[in-house]
Amino acid sequence: MNASLREHRPPLPELGTQQDPRPNGVGRVVLVEERSPPRLVHPLDIAQIFPKETLWILNDAAVLPASFWVQPEGSEEIFELRVASLNDESGRFVALGFGGGDFQVQTELRGPVPTLQRGTRLSVLPAARRAVAFPPPETEAYLRLVRQDGRLFELSCPDGYAALLALLYQRGAPIQYAYTKRPHRLSEVQNSYVGRPWAIEPASAGRHLNAGILCALRGAGQRLAWLTHAAGISSTGDPTLDLRLPLPERYDIPEATAQRIAEARGRGNLVVAVGSSTTRAIESATSPDGRVTPGQGIAQLRLDAAYEPRVVDVLLTGIHEAGSSHRELTRAFASDRALDEAWRLAAAERLKLHEFGDAMLIRRRAS
């Protein structure tokens, strides 16, 4: 939007942040449509919003315990690494490093990381609170540094992918947000229907659909389909690195899902994407003629206000402030006017921001 043409917009009220996870399926939803005023929808009524045969697509990626601490061989210094990109089963991956401070310090303010030589061995430290169920780690676990570029580390697990995942599950924790009051457990950030742990950050729009609500959707004649997408890091704490986001993220779209999308489009049924990660996967796999190619791929698309969705008609997403990267995608679906009105309703109803908060269901203008 051209700043010089922008009308004066009255300042928007503030919304509070939902600091800690709540059970799945309790979020309230603001329905945003261009030609109607926004309205508030309660969880179980989500199933009644759209007509029968509306297709809801969910990202079934579970959250990986992507944060862990390391000590370089021969050094006393320890620092945190967060998986940023893990797109195959080679045992190699990219991580972001954070020095002094812990998760309660905003990523922008975390201390620097040491500069290390290629080939350095990094000892992966046992978790501060041992991940229950697994026995205490008896052996050391190492990663090898392939390449470092500032905060960005390319790493390799010498024993391969299975060993890397076991290491993360035994010694890692989910990436935490600075705004939370307490560290949250891996089980608290999972959606009700998760499968393979491809997600580095939660596909948090999915929190709004628990087993009961999915059941209600089916009962109301809505159709469900799934894909798996490696929802990734949304902020690095480094403005230069942030410009490279989102990083390439792997996805897997089953044939059945691609077929359901084709059927929905053919019949004029709405396609609802649960979350920006789902949207990114679908739109990345869509050719200009609107056909979704099934199979595995790497999503490279940047979805911002200028993007014109080819397949997705409705986006379910959290409530985020203007200017944030999450907010940008919503501007591809609705005008700033409609989004501002929705925000005002959210404020009046005391809805909550961010990953554990409430939601918006945004119908694309001209859909």
């Binding site: 169920a133 697994f134 076991a166 089980s187 959606n191 499968g195």
Partner: protein, 250 residues
């Protein structure tokens, strides 16, 4: 129900608990022979490693995977991690076999004499843990439209045998959990219970040390029957409790 040919749908990737010995191990090997990917959970790393090596050699021709997860089913809070790791290693999972069991204090004794803590421990391994694992998996099975949740039960869950108190009560409880799940989740999944009868295993020896092994069934035979069920679970009614002749015929 799975698309296409539901009656011939069978599992391709399964998580088995208590997989390092007895029925769990026998089932792991049978499924590996059939080309099913298996994630094998047990507390003892060495025995589990042995089972994994055997499973992998049986799976060589099919390329199916067999991966170990050293963990304790009784640590309920760890269920998300256990299932997450299993999904990462052999996923997407389409089934779970709740086989790991805690017999309770041995030698078996009267309920009135047993410890409350030990009673709770039995329930953690036999009920709370398996339920937590199921919760971490079943939503995905439902979303994908097919899958199996299978619990290993016992006729102690149905009869009232003196000295079998904690174990029997826990098996009855979990049978009921499975039955309720079957009713709640409808026809999309198969939620089943299997009573394998008396088998020639370490657990049986711990319970009844002087039983005559000749009178006991080989766990391999039961494993084969369970593997048959997992190979075509939609031929069996949802919520079924299979034992004896019905298990053989399934």
């Amino acid at each position: 129900m799975p698309h296409g040919d539901p009656l011939n749908w069978g599992v391709s990737s399964v998580l088995i608990t208590g997989a390092s010995r007895g029925l769990g191990r026998a089932l792991a090997l049978d499924l590996s022979r059939r080309g099913v990917n298996v994630a094998l959970l047990a507390r003892g790393a060495e025995a589990l490693e042995q089972t994994v090596l055997e499973a992998r050699s049986l799976a060589k021709h099919s390329g199916a995977r067999a991966e170990p997860i050293v963990a304790d089913v009784a640590d309920v809070a760890g269920a998300t991690r256990v299932v997450g790791l299993a999904q990462a290693l052999v996923g997407p999972l389409d089934g779970i076999v709740h086989n790991a069991s805690d017999l309770g204090e041995t030698p078996l004794g009267q309920l009135l004499d047993g410890s409350a803590e030990r009673f709770e421990q039995v329930f953690r391994t036999n009920v709370f843990g398996p339920l937590a694992l199921t919760r971490a998996l079943a939503g995905n099975l439902l979303l994908r439209g097919h899958g199996v949740v299978l619990g290993i039960s016992s006729d102690a869950a149905v009869e009232h045998y003196p000295t079998w108190g904690p174990y029997a009560a826990s098996k009855a409880a979990f049978d009921h959990v499975l039955g309720t799940l079957a009713a709640e989740l409808g026809d999309t999944l198969r939620v089943l219970s299997v009573d394998p009868g008396e088998m020639n295993t370490e657990m049986h020896r711990a319970a009844i040390p002087d039983a005559d092994p000749v009178s006991l069934t080989a766990p391999e035979r039961v494993a084969e029957q369970i593997a048959n069920v997992l190979g075509a679970p939609y031929r069996v009614p949802n919520g079924a409790r299979l034992s004896g002749a019905a298990l053989e015929a399934a």
